[in-house]
Symmetry: C2
Amino acid sequence: MSQVACEYRTLPAKRLRAFGADCFAAAGMPEEEARLAAELLVRSELRGVETHGLVWLPNYCRALREGRVNPTPRIAMEGQGAALRVDGDGGLGHVVSARAMDLCIERAREQGAAFAAVRNSRHNGAASLYALRAMEAGLIGLSLTGGGVRVAPAGGREALLGTNPIAFAAPAGEEPPIVLDMATSVAAGARVTLHARKGLPIPEGWALTPEGEPTTEPELGDRGALLPLGGTLEMGAAKGFGLGLVVETLCNLLTGMATGPERARGEQEDRRGTGHFFAALRIDLFEPAEEFRRRMDRTLRILRESTPQAGIERVCVPGELEWQREREREAAGVPLLAGTIRSLRELAGELGVPGPE
Amino acid sequence: MSQVACEYRTLPAKRLRAFGADCFAAAGMPEEEARLAAELLVRSELRGVETHGLVWLPNYCRALREGRVNPTPRIAMEGQGAALRVDGDGGLGHVVSARAMDLCIERAREQGAAFAAVRNSRHNGAASLYALRAMEAGLIGLSLTGGGVRVAPAGGREALLGTNPIAFAAPAGEEPPIVLDMATSVAAGARVTLHARKGLPIPEGWALTPEGEPTTEPELGDRGALLPLGGTLEMGAAKGFGLGLVVETLCNLLTGMATGPERARGEQEDRRGTGHFFAALRIDLFEPAEEFRRRMDRTLRILRESTPQAGIERVCVPGELEWQREREREAAGVPLLAGTIRSLRELAGELGVPGPE
């Protein structure tokens, strides 16, 4: 393991959004979709989720130019009542997912609630981006994504499931809202990779080696299997595994995409692409929206002001720190790793667009 | 801690269902509802979930006779499209929940998907009972229940949330299906109580003392706080806490019931009763049902046949053991603790119905 320098430089969010949109457009996407995808990618940076941010832009643009991601998908949406069936036509996951969630929101306004099962999509970044969309429209949002073969079943040695994130967002009044975004493994895959890059050991219980033995070495964990949330059977690993299976069911089986176990065994037949599952739910059919928000505020405030454990500063609600960071960075700019900025400059050269700075 | 004898006797499931129905009817419930509630209670025993089985029958019957649970609720169901609003009128949670899920199933058949937010219910036993109902109708089922003040937030010392179970069920073909039923704490509250009864220490990381310190003594854990799934922040406790908040949002805020934090601080105003959230989702709008089942079978088989960790016999899918147990016990009878049988005999005497044997 070798320590690498982590120098950051801060660039304005507005500039980065324009840069991202230029790149996506130069890679073949229509202008409106290019702007939408860039906005979502930069939003991850604003929220401090750098593992799902601009570091991906060069990959996405190359995949678009090489046709592995379709720059001009004809996203097909059909469905009866509250159940929507969306085919992403191989388009960038960000665009497909935003469109699918927007339709869910529209249908939920009529039907009270709506779900979308999405097939033939691609990587869509942070799952919470789409739950946030519902929340900002005043609804409750749910966003699940399948894909990957990284996580062992409870009690198992082999990587067979995706990290299968679950995101959920619900509005509050004056308090920062609940925005949950969790891999169903103990630690997200990107956190293990980050430990490797920083030369730090990973805590025991995050991962197994390729031989299925416990390890604290991030490189071995990266090549082996992540453990499901809970870690050991005694500490509830069957629950993390079960949640992973919920995501496989809704995102992969319901959509005709390959499940993690099928991919791991080469039994995916001709199934390609990524599946997602979104839901949006109206609040005001059940409770007056103002009352919901008032009581959400009170509930969150009690939690935040409750007594922390020894050595912990205070109790944080999921999504609270990201919410504050987004407001700060929108004003003060986005810190990017020097290495990321270099790769964006190279990308600009390749695509013939102005650089990110 | 003192060891207690755990003698079991086996009684036929059919007899226990009839006994349960007699008791509920004698406690004031209409015959059909009495049969339904008894069937659900005995089903928990068949599945080996004895913490949610007949041990509760005396409590339920006394609560019905004393008017704390309404024996003849007028369950009101209204709602637009896919979103149902159910008021349980203080009825036994089992009956309210089964009725709400049955309506979800009916609506999902028309609308593709439906969900119900239920208010003014009472304890409904094992959350999976209602997800199973959807699954056995060929749909995907989701069942959440709020209530209780047992679990600390991630990094916190105080019991502020309910154990807030999440249940999910999806059909397979020939394999036992996925039936997940999980508290959002590391261990369900009943498991801590069971350790206390058996005189066994609890594993470190399950619970805190009333003073908020880690403990392996089940009595202290029972009076203190359970830890959210993940246990520590390093091992993902924010995820268990987040899932607990999802349940508080859907089961308590959306329904006008008190949240855990509100109850803990005495800020529940005049809110009483328990809230639930159910959803049912049609498969065949998305994929042919046969194809879904075939691929679910393949996916589950790969998981079950995968290499286990050292010291673990084999990988089990959530719900697999309960599924097998249900079939065995339906044929061979239900083992009940001698103490439970005694309490059922006493109940029979009180209600003037024939005993359970």
